[in-house]
């Protein structure tokens, strides 16, 4: 299991410079817990806080320490083959998710792409339905990842929550808000690249 300090360190590596709210959402820890981990990491010289914007980021040594610890985590759990296999599954799904986000934002009318004004409930229902279908297949990939490294379980929860909020009428939770399905998916993409040590 990854300790909370590694979770916070890893979250900062995956999302870049971020505030407490975003880091809490990513790690699943409470904001006070995130903050106390950050303070300890700052004492160790691994993270630094920008007082002007109230955001945190990794230092050079934080990046190095992260790379070493995340690689050790992967090797000690003997999880590399399983994570790599799940990443292949992710890459098959990725273009479809981007198609779905695009279909939510734009639609074709007389062969012209126009902004989806959400005045056609049947079209929106169709896209939502495809998101739900997609999520079932995404959940299978997330489950593979979680059984290899438990910290990946957080993504399945966050994706399902975003879809739930969207289905309940908060449409911006599909492709548009900072807690949207698309944003969580992009974080998972980054996490997989970072975990496997694959450069962008």
């Amino acid at each position: 299991m990854s300790g909370p300090d590694l979770l916070v360190l890893h979250a900062l590596r995956c999302v870049g410079t971020a505030g407490l709210t975003r880091l809490a959402a990513t790690t699943g820890l409470g904001e006070p817990d995130v903050e106390s981990e950050l303070i300890d990491l700052a004492v160790a010289g691994l993270v630094t806080r920008n007082a002007d914007f109230g955001v945190w980021s990794l230092t050079g040594s934080g990046r190095a320490a992260h790379a070493q610890r995340i690689a050790a985590e992967l090797e000690s759990a003997a999880a590399r083959p399983a994570v790599a296999a799940a990443f292949d599954g992710f890459l098959v799904l990725n273009p479809e998710l981007l198609d779905l986000c695009t279909a939510w934002q734009l639609r074709s009318a007389d062969g012209v792409m126009i902004a989806n004004d959400h005045r056609d409930p049947s079209y929106d229902a169709r896209v939502l339905d495809r998101f739900a279908d997609f999520d079932r297949r995404a959940a299978a990939v997330c489950a593979e990842l979680a059984s290899a490294l438990p910290r990946f379980g957080r993504y399945q929860t966050r994706l399902a929550e975003a879809l739930g909020r969207a289905t309940a009428g908060k449409w911006e939770e599909l492709a548009d808000s900072t807690s949207s399905y698309h944003v969580v998916w992009a974080e998972l993409h980054e996490d997989l690249l970072v975990t496997l040590g694959i450069p962008r």
Partner: protein, 443 residues
């Protein structure tokens, strides 16, 4: 043969049977244009495959006969309805046996039913039982020698609609390098100097396909050892101001009449006429895909952190190779977004539309390095003022003149014809003027 047709000028079947791509190849044959030899396994064979889970009886024998004389081939999908990038393409297949052909055709047919393709059809109202054809064609090699290459060409400029050929060319490489955007391309015009015979052949082909379809066209081509080959043709597909200009010009050239010009433009094309655009004639340093309409002028920032810092003092354009979750704060702080990689469904494009910010993605000749970027061969440092046009995908240094399409002469011409048809010359919205004419013409 029941399931296979040889591609030739004499082939007389619909796009429903042959698929749109093969149907276009037949048109090219009829126009006397050079098309690599090939045959098509029909959509009917695909439907049988989808229904029964195996290729139809008799196809093996037909394939064994059809492959005689073929050596290295491509096997491409092509449905009656365009589904770009959704299905498999197999290149450089050595056709040593009917079994190799069979395996490739099965792979193309199977790719009809990937979850992504199914999702695409659900979203675009395309029936799941339509099926795709599989086109088997002799490979031509754009990477053969110094006089080989590949490209895409429009008979008119798809950004503005002007009656000049437009496109991209890659010397010494294969076709998929252009479509995938993996290599920086050169302007089509470079062909004229380096391969004048190919260029003359291409101009001739563009004028013949345009005359046939009576519309602006798109072709994919390869030249091998100085010899031109056409691989695909598609009419139309222009949007916005370019569509308006092409329709109005074709009417003035006498190719179509004014009523047809009006009917070719959907009121949806006019939805963005009040969206600002970079004025024509500005010095465009690079061009990508417009991903979210509108013009943004700002100082270049190459990381999310500098974008946030610089945005305190004024508008910023975030310039990135591609975007990742690291860029969310920078995207939020920026006025506009410019990326080297990615298409209309990339992370950057999705986020830009979510935030309603002008964005240009997929600028092939953009390289972002530490605190600077190279755009179209020019190095620009962080802080340089740039302007991007999220409709046309144009990138201009400094702050150019900005106009709206309502000032566009072809649009005014077309709308005058619309008012003549409807008999209503009152002051109204552009889309309303066009819709009124459509109502009369469709009565």
């Amino acid at each position: 043969m029941r399931w296979i047709r040889h591609l030739s000028a004499e082939l007389d079947e619909t796009a429903e049977v042959l698929g749109g791509k093969a149907h276009g190849l037949v048109v090219l044959h009829r126009l006397g244009l050079p098309v690599p030899a090939g045959f098509v396994v029909t959509t009917e064979a695909c439907r049988a495959f989808l229904r029964d889970g195996r290729l139809p009886g008799g196809l093996d024998e037909e394939l064994a006969a059809a492959i005689t004389g073929f050596d290295v081939v491509s096997v491409r999908s092509g449905a009656a309805v365009s589904m770009p990038g959704m299905m498999n393409t197999i290149l450089n297949l050595e056709l040593t046996s009917a079994a190799a052909a069979r395996t490739a055709v099965e792979a193309v047919f199977s790719s009809w039913n990937t979850p992504r393709a199914r999702t695409y059809r659900e979203l675009h109202d395309i029936p799941h039982d339509l099926g795709t054809a599989a086109i088997v064609q002799t490979m031509v090699f754009g990477n053969r020698d110094d006089h080989s290459g590949t490209g895409v060409a429009f008979s008119r400029d798809p950004n503005r609609g002007a009656n000049v050929p437009f496109g991209e060319v890659l010397f010494g490489q294969q076709g998929d390098d252009v479509v995938s955007g993996s290599s920086p391309t050169l302007p089509l015009r470079d062909l004229a100097d380096r391969e004048p015979v190919v260029w003359a052949g291409l101009l001739d082909a563009l004028s013949r396909v345009e005359a046939h379809y009576r519309d602006a066209c798109y072709v994919e081509f390869t030249f091998q050892s100085g010899e031109l080959w056409l691989l695909q043709v598609r009419p139309g597909g222009f949007a916005g101001a370019a569509a308006v200009r092409v329709a109005a010009d074709l009417a003035d050239e006498g190719v179509i009449d004014r009523h047809e010009a009006l009917l070719r433009i959907s009121p949806h094309h006019l939805r963005h006429v009040r969206t600002p655009r970079i004025a024509p004639g500005e010095d465009v340093v690079a061009r990508g895909l417009g991903a979210c309409p509108g013009v943004a002028t700002g100082r270049v920032a190459t990381t999310a952190d500098t974008a946030v810092r610089m945005a305190v003092d004024g508008p910023v354009v975030l310039v990135r190779q591609e975007t990742s979750p690291h860029d969310m704060r920078g995207l939020a702080a920026a006025t506009g977004i410019l990326t080297a990689r990615g298409g209309p469904a990339s992370h950057a494009a999705v986020v830009a539309r979510a935030m309603g910010k002008p964005a240009v993605v997929g600028v092939a000749d953009l390289v972002v390095a530490d605190a600077s970027a190279v755009v179209g061969g020019r190095t620009i440092s962080e802080g340089t003022l740039v302007t991007i046009d999220g409709t046309s995908g144009e990138v201009v240094l400094g702050s150019p003149r900005v106009v709206t399409t309502t000032a566009d002469e072809p649009l005014r011409r077309l709308l005058r014809w619309a008012d003549d048809v409807s008999g209503d010359h009152s002051e109204r919205d552009e889309a309303d003027r066009l819709s009124a004419a459509h109502a009369v013409l469709r009565r």
